[in-house]
Amino acid sequence: MPETIHLPMGPQHPFLKEPVKFDFDIQGEEIVGARMNIGYNHRGLEKLCEDRNYYQCLYILERICGICSHSHTTAFCQATEKLLGLEVPKRGLYLRTLVCELERLHSHLLWLGVAAHEVGFDTLFMLVWRDRELVMDALEEISGNRVNYAFNTIGGVRRDLSEEQRKKILAILQPLMDRLEYYANIGSNEPSFEARIRGVGSLSKQHAIEMCTVGPFARASGVDRDARRDAPHAAYPFLEFKVITNEECDVFGRVLVRVLEMVESCKMIKQILDTLPEGEFVAPKVMRRVPAGTAISYYEAPRGEDIHYVRSNGTEKPERVKVRAPTMANLEAACESVVGSLVADIPIAIASIDPCYSCTDRTTIALTDRRRGRRVTTWGELRQYGIDWYRRNRGVHF
């Protein structure tokens, strides 16, 4: 029996793009235990939203994630529109969906590059990211920005699409489809790449359902679940598309699911541009005070199902905004799926969920009432604790 070594990975490690802590117990090269700890990137955005009005919240929620920024604003807008009982013009829905699908394309291309880099296939990484520029250019054409598009607004979108822009976006689709075919071919036929992704990070269908996984990660384990079809939102009810699933249950399946999903996205973008309805793109009059109530909105972000919960108390500001980003649902399952595999498989197995820790990070503080032995903290104590902590550890005086 070889000795068990504790191998810490993170909060800073080359395979991580954002801070998170993994602790692995290894025997030789085999992993026998895995634990993780999030919370290194917590920014308190949900709390910030409570001090802003609904329009200002959009700018904050857009910055939850750098990759799927449009997802979070879409989910939030949908929830708010539900509270307002607002009908979004059809052209607005179509344009919103157009950016959604372009975002899915660029997110999946980014992921494919990162996955290739995790297994040392830097050539694929460089080529994929070159082709991703096509999508970035299209997004810049539509919104003026490459990353945070600021495209959504409550009741529709902020900009219209001109005929010239429509043609420009149509022109990138065919070259992109050709490249995607090439990558699907590399993913399934390049022997050294295939050797690294086949059978790695296995997650059975049963396990995937039990662990509540979402998105391409779940679909690669054969779970036929997609919020675009199951909880219709935006313009998806008007579009034809297939939900891609795969029975491989490993990283190989996840690569294929994502590449084929990109092909579907290209087809959807073509449909949207071909059948773009005429008319208004934003609802003309939106009340600033939102009626009291609660709303939940589902949205299929590139990484999986994104859920926003908004509670309103009848004022201009939301009382509570709660975000359940897809990584939160997938991370536990990914961490568990590496047990039993080799150290070399850790980066690609973890990266196969396309983790986004800044979406996910939460803090939990459990303070014990020493005197009475209760785990209870009043709001004032918590506030005082925060002030003291920052004074002690960061030298910040409020």
């Binding site: 040392g120 694929l124 080529l127 150290v343």
Partner: protein, 323 residues
């Protein structure tokens, strides 16, 4: 006069100065080709087309802070870069380019070179071992595991031309097609050449065999704790190892560097660059494989392939086709 020549041989050409200069140039070539194959431009600004970038990198590293971990064995930690650099430079002296005497070209020098080229791997393992950090330790054991995978096919591949030439002297093996007049033996060694290039890639720890220093898995492998001067020496050692390895393969399989100082020099540059270009293509076309996969790959494919090559050579010799 002879003493001067020996001094020039050891210090200037093809000794230390030439090895350092040419090997950094080869690194530039490798980086540039690799970048072009990935649709990038590679080094651009230092020197013509970024040619001095590898030198600049090493100079910069030399000027950086040199940190030794608290728990590391200080002496061994500092000694390992020197040991590995010294062994590869010594191995480089036996590349037969110019002024061959019984000091640098003798019967059996191929074994000496193969032995000297194995030392850096052990030095790397020990460097990881003495650094005392989980990543170094893991990287160090991977170095050793990988060594057992590629070393035997590498030796077998190198020795088949030796058997063909009937000599264990690198210069004699290299010039055999010329001296014997049997030009056709060059393409016969194709299998061994491929095996030699692949195992050299493994020796150099480059993609797809860069398992010991896989960045996304074990950070820097055995070199994780190294910094400053010591890391610079390790980098220079890796460059020179690439030069010596490619020159050795070029000499043995591509017809040697005969023809005096100038002609020999030109042949050395062209043939070595060719081997390095092959190494870059392999590096660009693959993903990194796992440690269990390289062991399987070596013993299932590379070792039998070199044995088949051995058999072919023996049959050719047995039927007297070379006489």
């Amino acid at each position: 006069m002879n003493a001067l020549k020996v001094a020039l041989y050891v210090l200037v050409f093809p000794g230390f100065l030439f090895q350092s200069g040419f090997s950094t140039w080869l690194e530039w070539l490798d980086r540039k080709l690799y970048a072009r194959m990935q649709n990038r431009r590679g080094p651009m600004y230092t020197g013509w087309g970024g040619m001095l970038q590898p030198v600049a990198d090493i100079i910069k590293l030399l000027s950086k802070e040199d940190i030794t971990p608290v728990h590391a064995d200080k002496g061994a930690f500092a000694f390992m870069p020197l040991l590995s650099l010294a062994s590869v430079i010594t191995a480089g002296l036996y590349i037969p380019v110019w002024h061959l005497t019984h000091f640098n070209s003798f019967e059996g020098d191929i074994v000496v070179v193969a032995y000297l080229l194995a030392i850096p791997s052990f030095a790397l393992f020990l460097a990881g071992w003495f650094s005392v950090s989980p990543y170094s330790l893991l990287g160090g054991t991977r170095v050793l595991t990988q060594l057992f995978a590629y070393e035997v096919p590498f030796f077998l591949a190198l020795l088949t031309p030796a058997v063909m030439a009937g000599s264990w002297r690198i210069a004699a093996i290299g010039s055999y097609p010329w001296t014997s007049g049997n030009w056709w033996v060059l393409p016969v060694h194709l299998i061994a050449f491929c095996v030699a290039v692949l195992t050299l890639q493994a020796k150099l720890e480059r993609v797809p065999f860069d398992i010991p220093e896989a960045e996304t898995e074990v950070v820097g492998g055995p070199l994780t704790e190294y910094s400053g001067k010591k890391l610079a020496l390790f980098r220079l050692q890796k460059d020179i190892l690439m030069y010596v390895g490619s020159a050795l393969v070029a000499c043995i399989f591509l017809g040697g560097f005969a023809g005096g100082l100038w002609l020999g020099f030109v042949q050395l540059v062209v043939k070595t660059s060719f081997v390095v270009a092959l190494l870059s293509v392999v590096r660009a076309a693959c993903a990194r494989i796992r440690i269990d996969q390289i062991v399987t790959f070596s013993w299932r494919w590379l070792a039998p392939a070199s044995l088949v090559q051995f058999l072919i050579v023996l049959l050719i010799k047995a039927f007297g086709a070379t006489s």
